[in-house]
């Protein structure tokens, strides 16, 4: 069979193909990515879009968790102060219940108890970054105000709203307890107990009843405080989980769209060799033909 006497188009096509292979390998090595355009691997490109979204989401969850963590820690340490104050109040109450005290002594104790009452009020009005944390969702105004008309001398002006924040796929963390659930759970109001104790110590009667009231409030607050401890624990484990997830996502990203650098280098070398060989062939292609052997005259 007669062969095509003009090999040039085939050679040019071969050259362009090896050049293309070379460029692909170079791009993979330069970017470290196998999928540089969706058409490089459409399915992997779609996975990468989702992976990117999940990675950004995990980063955001970590950032949100960080913001919440600060708040929870502040609240927890304030509650620790509250229990210390209540302990001191209980000691003072025991002292005030001693029947040998005179009215001056009792007045002095009552004054100290009033001081504690004020500190407790300030603790219950704790604000973190401009938000009153025990106000429910009415967090723009101080939830506890002095109110002579109230039996406890203090009234709650917040609401019972609770917030929770999404910190993971299908995972929400409750971030606050409204004041009444923190300080007046199960019918024992801390402010009422303090108010009653102060009145009892001042008058010298009913101290025992007031003391048992305060003890109950103390116990209730201690048990409610667990809410924040738990929240912090959950937050910690969620952060750990998110960091693990990020590692997995990074791994998945590499699997889906990362270049196999060893393979890319090998491909590059192979393409370069092929390119050089083809170039050498093209250079020699300018053919010797029979004309070169015709006799010269």
């Amino acid at each position: 069979m007669r062969v095509n006497p003009n090999p040039v188009p085939d050679m040019l096509a071969a050259l362009s193909e090896t050049q293309q292979q070379q460029q692909t390998a170079e791009l993979q090595i330069a970017t470290g990515k196998r999928v540089n355009s969706p058409s490089d691997d459409p399915a992997a490109a779609a996975v990468l879009v989702q992976n990117q979204d999940q990675t950004a989401e995990a980063d955001q969850f970590l950032q949100s968790a960080g913001s919440i963590q600060g708040q929870l820690q502040t609240v927890d340490s304030t509650l620790s102060t509250v229990t210390t104050l209540l302990n001191r109040a209980i000691s003072l109450g025991v002292e005030g219940g001693n029947g040998t005290l005179n009215s001056d002594d009792r007045a002095a104790i009552a004054t100290e108890l009033s001081g504690i009452q004020t500190q407790l009020l300030s603790a219950a009005n704790l604000s973190y970054q401009g938000n009153y944390v025990f106000a429910g969702t009415a967090s723009q105004t101080a939830p506890y105000v002095l109110d002579p008309s109230s039996a406890s001398g203090v009234s709650y002006v917040g609401n019972l709203g609770k917030n929770s924040v999404t910190l993971g796929t299908d995972y929400k963390l409750a971030t606050n307890l409204p004041g009444p659930q923190m300080f007046a759970a199960s019918g024992t109001d801390m402010f009422q107990a303090m108010h009653d104790l102060i009145t009892a110590v001042q008058s010298g009667t009913g101290v025992d009843a007031a003391m048992s009231e305060l003890s109950a409030a103390y116990a209730s607050i201690s048990s409610q405080r667990v809410f924040y401890g738990n929240a912090l624990n959950q937050l910690n484990s969620q952060q750990t989980y998110l960091n693990t997830q990020k590692v997995q996502l990074a791994q998945q990203e590499t699997n889906a769209g990362g270049a196999d650098l060893a393979a890319a280098s090998t491909n590059l070398a192979a393409a370069q060799t092929a390119q050089q060989a083809t170039l050498a062939a093209v250079a020699r292609a300018e053919p010797m033909s029979l004309f070169d052997y015709l006799p010269q005259y």
Partner: protein, 458 residues
Amino acid sequence: MSNLNATMATALSGLLADQGALETTTNNVANSSTPGYSRECPVLVPGDPVVEGPLTFGTGVVLQQVESVRDGILESRIQQETQQQGKQDALLAALQQTQVNFSSSSGDIGSAISSFFNSINQLSTNPSDLSLRQGVLTAAGNLATAFNQTAANLETQRTNLDLNVTQTVSQINQLTQQIAQLNGQISDLTNVGQNAGTFIDQRTQLIDQLSSLVDVSVIQSDKSITLTTSNGTALVAGEQAFQLAAQPTAASVSDVVANGQDITAQLTGGKLAGLIQARDQEIPGVLANLDSLASGLADAVNQVQTTGYDLNGNLATGVNLFAPPPAGGVGAAASMSVALTDPTKLAVSSDGSPGSNGNAEAMYAINNQAVAGNQTPTDYYSGIVFGIGNSVANATAEDNASTLVLQQLNDQRGSISGVSLNEEAANLVQYQEAYNAAAKVVTTISDMMQTVINMKTT
């Protein structure tokens, strides 16, 4: 009984035939790198014999014709494949441009969607914070811009493709004009029994070019050819060319019109078909998907926004975050915009208190809800990316395949019609030797004639 004069004539016929054959070889060598040239071959036949009594004498050789060597069926295969490749080339180039909008990993719609929902999540940790509220508005603005820009890029691409359609139509018209002219020249030559090979080569070359632009069917008659598109629209009939026209329409793109009839949707091959497919199907398809996503997302966000409470405790009825998308969603991506400018109006609260984040959480949950095509925003977007990637990958594969087929067909054409210098050198030697030998015969006969003339009768 023969005579010397007759023998001389026979020898001369050899000289003439060899000279003609040499000329053919020379022409082949001269055209060895002319694109589209088919090698020519001298057709030598023995002269009609003369019968004298019991003897039959040959009367030498006749150069009957110079024939171009070509395979008509192969030529038409090449034309068909060229149409295919013209289409795939145009389509691939267009799709690759479209794909660029979905290749970058930052600033694209996908990352804008992530950033928007992430800003809401951040706001959820401190619902009354004005800078976080502003952050959500900014992210919403970036999201709208990402949709706007992508849609605008695709529209610009469509406009450019449309311009290209108009230019291609005028290229087609030029080619059909030239082919019609060549048809005339070819039939003139063949009418007087001449070889029109060179003109036929030129015409084949032009039909190849035309094939890369539009789907052409070639109907060969004795002397001339008729060209139609594959749906039967006449392009060239004999010496007459029929013009196509690009007619602007209300839809801001041009229709291809032949003889008053719109044939836009019927073109199946060539660059023109590829351009039209990208302009009328591929890009509008991507735009429609973007519109669904933009309108679905805007509607879902507005739905949640308008049922919550703003920072001042007012129910946000009718206070949309995004400008409501057009009914039916057409043009939603191009026109997406943020309607809200006051961050305090963002409905983050679900109970009317400024510290509530209930509505922000509901808004964030849209991230995992079906907003378009029964899919979450990111899933739907990843589907768009997959779709365009797949289209480009398919077009690339088909383009490569048709390039390969065309290359093989051209090889085959070369093996039949290409000029081989070895062959021509061998022919040259052969014809030269034959010419020399014939010349020698002439000399010999001339000597013999001298002998006869010098004979003396006694």
